[in-house]
């Protein structure tokens, strides 16, 4: 008996909440979102959520989309993919959203993919791995650059400097594991030799043993670190502590102002591929991305008094792609919106220029990545 009454209460509560919302704004467009706002991936999900909240508000102030207000329905999966699956179901079945933007990590995204495919719900993921869009899934799109692109971009730069024998150090998160897989697969094709491959935990406090091993591996010309979050800063500190002088590369998962702050002088000279957002002010005046990234940066800074990260930018792109598609489709009909997203051409976002097609549900090419170097405690563009 308990069970019935409990569920009944839950059900009525949900209905009541739903009703009060619809009374406030007549028939809003519902943007659903599942993000990792807590847990190990919180530093990705947190700015993503803030960005979505900020821009939904801004768009609504400017009159909304198709004459309707936007309503953001978001859940925190706590960086647990299984929870993402449950919340995804909730968005589709209970909240009946019009589109889903989110899925902070690849795991969360992939756990929702079967749901959205079955429910025929347009879904724009904010996660990195290639598997999300390869093979192409009819209803699934993504905004961030892939891990494979990061490896390609880094290899391109290494070869320019004549570095072909490298050591890989990846973290054990989904991001790092997928990056490791892609890098190892790509290396022989790109003419690179991996002399060592070590891993570390994203929350590790000391990575000197792995770096010592790399340091003592003969012939290594450069070190490529594929990880995200604070672990990357610890790598930098240990790197300096051990006095390793080889050129150091990171992947895009650490691209934030915070990363330099945490690493201190140890970050000096390292390079990484990142979206233009990080160097918004330093872009050439005629760069097509300049107005977009400076605009986003300013809006975010003004509102939250904290530095932007490229991850928030991914959420911005996701929301804008969705909104643009709805505008072009002139409706929120899911199939038409999906078609419109797939037809996106020349959209300029924080991540780069997006050209979607039936065979490419990300729409970015290598030019979307800028190669950056830390100089005097700040990001600098290199060609």
């Amino acid at each position: 008996m308990r069970k019935i009454s409990l569920l009944k209460t839950l059900a009525t509560a949900a209905v009541a909440i739903g009703a009060s919302f619809s009374a406030l704004a007549a028939d809003p467009i519902k943007i659903g979102s599942v993000l990792s706002v807590t847990g190990p991936a919180a530093f990705l999900g947190d700015p993503e959520l803030k960005t979505l909240q900020l821009y939904v508000e801004n768009i609504n102030k400017a009159g909304g989309v198709l004459g309707r207000q936007l309503q953001l329905v978001h859940y925190d999966d706590g960086s647990d993919a299984a929870k993402a699956n449950a919340f995804g179901k909730r968005l589709i079945e209970d909240d009946k959203v019009d589109i889903i933007v989110g899925g902070t990590t690849t795991g969360s995204t992939m756990s929702m993919v079967p749901l959205v495919e079955k429910a025929e719900m347009p879904f724009i993921s904010l996660a990195g791995a290639v598997v999300i869009v390869e093979p192409v899934k009819k209803w699934v799109f993504k905004t961030p650059h892939t891990d494979r692109m990061a490896a390609e971009k880094v290899f391109e730069d290494m070869k320019k400097r004549g570095l072909t024998k490298i050591a890989l150090l990846s973290d054990t998160s989904g991001f790092g594991a997928s990056g490791k897989k892609e890098t190892e697969a790509l290396a022989p094709k790109a003419g690179m030799t991996l002399l060592a491959s070590e891993t570390y935990g994203p929350k590790d406090t000391d990575i000197t043993p792995q770096l010592t091993k790399i340091k003592n591996t003969a012939g290594v010309q450069a070190v490529f670190v594929f990880g995200f979050g604070q672990g990357g800063a610890v790598v930098n500190k240990n790197y300096k502590q051990l006095g390793i002088t080889l050129p150091l590369y990171h992947a895009h998962g650490v691209a934030s102002e915070e990363f330099i702050k945490l690493s201190g002088p140890a970050a000096e000279g390292l390079r990484l591929p990142a979206a233009a957002l990080l160097v918004a002010e330093k872009l050439a005046a005629n760069d097509p991305q300049k107005p977009v990234v400076t605009g986003y940066r300013k809006a975010y800074n003004d509102r939250y008094k904290e530095d932007v990260s490229t991850f928030g930018g991914h959420a911005y792109d996701g929301l804008m792609l969705a909104v643009e598609a709805m505008k072009r489709a002139g409706t929120t009909d899911k199939a038409k919106v999906r078609d419109a997203i797939e037809a996106t051409k020349g959209y300029i976002g924080t991540g780069g220029k997006v050209n979607m097609s039936p065979t490419d549900h990300m729409g970015l090419d290598l030019s979307a990545f800028r190669m950056l170097e830390v100089k005097n405690g700040d990001w600098a563009l290199i060609n």
Partner: protein
């Protein structure tokens, strides 16, 4: 050789923090038979609070003092409001309570100070010291030195002062201690305050090396628990040896065996040790009375 030395340095530095966490576990366990799963949160509090007070413009020594004093007060509040009312409860129930406490602490810090990762400058620079081809950060010396100091101070406290002996007596037999006039409630409060302060000291010292964020306490606490069990519950010496051992073995495993499986190594170690020594290395053998 220099490689081995490097792994050793790395292991000892990390191990010293595990040892401090383990000592905190031991103090509380001895006074109350509770394994405090919130111990790791004190380490987190130490680092986060120093960062917060520095940001607020306080000088370093004041920031450090507050970052140790506040967790000590939090420790006493925990004892007063969650452990004391549940004195008679089961082991599992108490474990769940301390897990609840750790969730609350972590949650409050997360809402208050955000989810970002933070750090502050090392106490005496970042120029590595070269020893036998291996390098050591000055901050590591701080960690080791203060840990050693804490261990000596604790030893003195427990073997030479009345207050310390009162705590020991309570841990042996609370009723008997009460009969000879020890205020056992006071002992519990002091133990919680002391172990919280120990954890916070660890956090304060370690943050310049390892960085901190609202959720670093989980893993540090867990490793501290491993250290306690390796050394033997209730033994202060065991806690220190266990902590260092876990740190060193972890570093050696990462260096020589597999960096992917290094996190599993402490737990494999635990299973192996418990198979052969069911009460850890220094744990007392107890014959049950029937």
């Amino acid at each position: 050789m220099s490689q081995f030395l490097q792994f050793l340095f790395s292991g000892i530095t990390v191990g010293a923090t595990y040892a401090l966490a383990a000592l905190g576990f031991t103090l509380i366990y001895n006074a109350s038979n509770v394994i405090n799963f919130a111990q790791g949160e004190f380490i987190m509090l130490g680092g986060m609070l120093v960062f917060f007070f520095l940001q607020a413009g306080l000088p370093m020594p004041v920031a450090i003092f507050l970052a140790i004093a506040i967790p000590a007060i939090v420790g006493m509040l925990i004892e007063k409001f969650t452990i004391e009312p549940a004195r008679e409860a089961d082991v599992v129930t108490l474990i769940i309570i301390t897990i609840g406490v750790s969730l609350v602490i972590r949650g409050v810090i997360q809402v208050w100070l955000g989810k970002g990762t933070h750090s502050y400058p090392a106490f005496s620079g970042n120029d590595p010291i070269l020893i036998g081809g291996a390098t050591l950060l000055p901050q590591s010396l701080w960690v080791l030195g203060i840990t050693a100091l804490v261990v000596v101070a604790l030893w003195y406290f427990f073997s030479r002062t009345l207050a310390g002996k009162a705590i020991l007596a309570t841990s042996c037999n609370p009723l008997a201690a009460q009969l000879v006039g020890v205020n056992t409630q006071w002992v519990l409060l002091v133990s919680f305050a002391l172990s919280a302060a120990l954890g916070a000291i660890g956090g304060v010292l370690l943050t310049p090396i390892t960085l901190t964020s609202y959720d670093v306490g989980i893993m540090l606490g867990l490793k501290g628990f491993v250290a306690v069990v390796v050394g033997g519950l209730g033994s202060g010496l065991g806690a220190v040896v266990g902590g260092l051992l876990v740190g060193i073995i972890e570093a050696m495993a990462a260096g020589y065996i597999s960096s992917a499986y290094k996190d599993a190594v402490p737990f494999i170690l635990i299973l192996v040790i418990l198979f052969f020594l069911p009460r850890g290395i220094f744990g007392a053998k107890v014959t049950e009375r029937v």
